[in-house]
Symmetry: C2
Subunit: 285 residues, 2 copies
């Protein structure tokens, strides 16, 4: 099997390492890395993430059975449009972008008839998005979301799902619209809250004592605010409407909790806290 990976950052590099460690059955695996810059090829080879490399997209995807597009999110569709003429019947194209509705719509239009596109989104990351941090265990135990539409090939869905499984991920399928709402709720809204929380503290006259006193609760609640700001901007821009919808829902939930705190209603407060605990506990057991 020949797998091309366009974009060799944390995700692209980790896919290479993970598949090298647990290659798909049947035939030798060859991974072709296609980074933006020439010098990345050497590093990716040295890390063992790829077998061959080229910066020429068209050359790199020739004869590939499957192409992973792991570029920054706003480049995914342009890259697919660029490689489209070189894609052959039966090839599978998938991406790892964290919003899907727009990407899937445009990608399905861009690929030639007979080329099988599946939208993907591994729910894994680190505080850096650099190749140097690539890790074969990055997807271990994580969720890999795949989108299914009327145009999705079941064979392609299964194939991408199998690779995600080999990398240790748990596959969950949904339609692109639901995907975007789901990640807005569990990923982009938490980021917005973490950023707003840190900025609330940073803007307070007592910010210095607050920073000195901050403990593990604050650390965990705000961890995602230490991620790459550019990735965050990408998420908020490419998934704008679902994020705004979830922020509105959140503000309502916070207003309700605020009202209970104002009332000092112990019973109702306890019920609100118990409801949260009961929903959350089973997710991480």
């Amino acid at each position: 099997m020949r797998i091309a990976i366009i974009g060799l950052g944390l995700i692209g590099g980790s896919i290479g390492l993970a598949l090298k460690q647990n290659p798909p059955a049947g035939g030798k695996l060859k991974i072709i890395g296609i980074p933006r810059r020439e010098e990345t090829i050497g590093l990716a080879k040295q890390l063992g993430a790829i077998d061959e490399g080229t910066t020429d997209h068209v050359k790199g995807v020739a004869d590939a059975d499957l192409v992973f597009i792991c570029t920054p999110i706003h480049l995914i569709v342009p890259v697919i449009q660029q490689i489209a003429p070189s894609l052959k019947k039966g090839m599978i194209v998938t991406d790892v972008g964290s919003s899907k509705q727009e990407i899937v719509k445009q990608a399905e239009r861009a690929v030639p008839r007979g080329v099988l596109y599946i939208g993907g989104h591994p729910m894994a990351g680190k505080e850096t998005s650099k190749l140097e941090a690539a890790d074969p265990a990055l997807f271990q135990g994580k969720t890999w979301l795949l989108t299914r539409t009327a145009r999705s090939s079941i064979t392609a869905l299964e194939k991408v799902g199998q690779l995600a499984g080999l990398m240790g991920a748990r596959v969950v399928e949904m339609d692109p619209r639901t995907h975007d709402l789901v990640v807005a709720a569990i990923s982009h809204l938490p980021l917005a809250l973490a950023v707003a929380l840190v900025n609330t503290v940073a803007a307070d006259p007592q910010h210095q004592l607050m920073g000195q006193s901050a403990s593990s609760g604050f650390r965990d609640t705000t961890r995602v605010a230490s991620g790459d700001p550019i990735l965050g901007v990408d998420l908020f821009q490419t998934n704008q409407k679902p994020v705004l919808k979830m922020i509105r829902s959140f503000k309502q939930a916070l207003n309700e909790l605020e009202a209970l705190i104002k009332e000092g209603n112990g019973e109702k407060l306890k019920a609100a806290l118990e409801k949260a605990k009961q929903f959350r506990d089973p997710l991480y057991q």
Copy 2:
């Protein structure tokens, strides 16, 4: 040195274990545990958290050099009032309650002249508050807040600070009013946000897929929502005003971020995310 610990849960038990492991210099350390229920004495002895035990507060604190009050927060002042007649000149009384303005005011009134009260608050916890989870390393690397007022004895502040230091904690001093605002910002507000975030997801029609897809970002952002609901209610009730103040500040910060997302203003969004990252990164290095 004789140290009495009233309330043998996670915190009281961990104080016993930590001081046993790193006892204060000069004279043999004896720890007297004073739990609510008789059967807790045996368990605390078995764990090695105490040397002796009694459920009789008055008897337990007799001849103690220092008393830690580790009961649930709403019992702290009643316990101090109850033991007040048995306290002798030069004794130090401290507590571990997570809000301080009311407690310190009433505790300073309740202790007899010559008894030295210092408000305390170790910023450490687990998802359970049971004695079984007591851990000598609970305070290691954590912050132990102490309150200083016009009536605080410097000697007593130093003594309590020394014990906190022996347990591995970093002491930060502040006045009770500042304390309550600080913990509202870095501990109680994060709890309110985590609870409101989980309840937002739980109330969404897609809550099932959201739960299935939830990853490490959601896990960390909401971790504190899995804490004991009764403790949470206590925090919101005993620190009501500072919590409400911080919720108001937070809502303003969230509204500003929401406006930037709505605008799609990449530059300003990036600045907001960078500001948060720059404040947070140095706190956890």
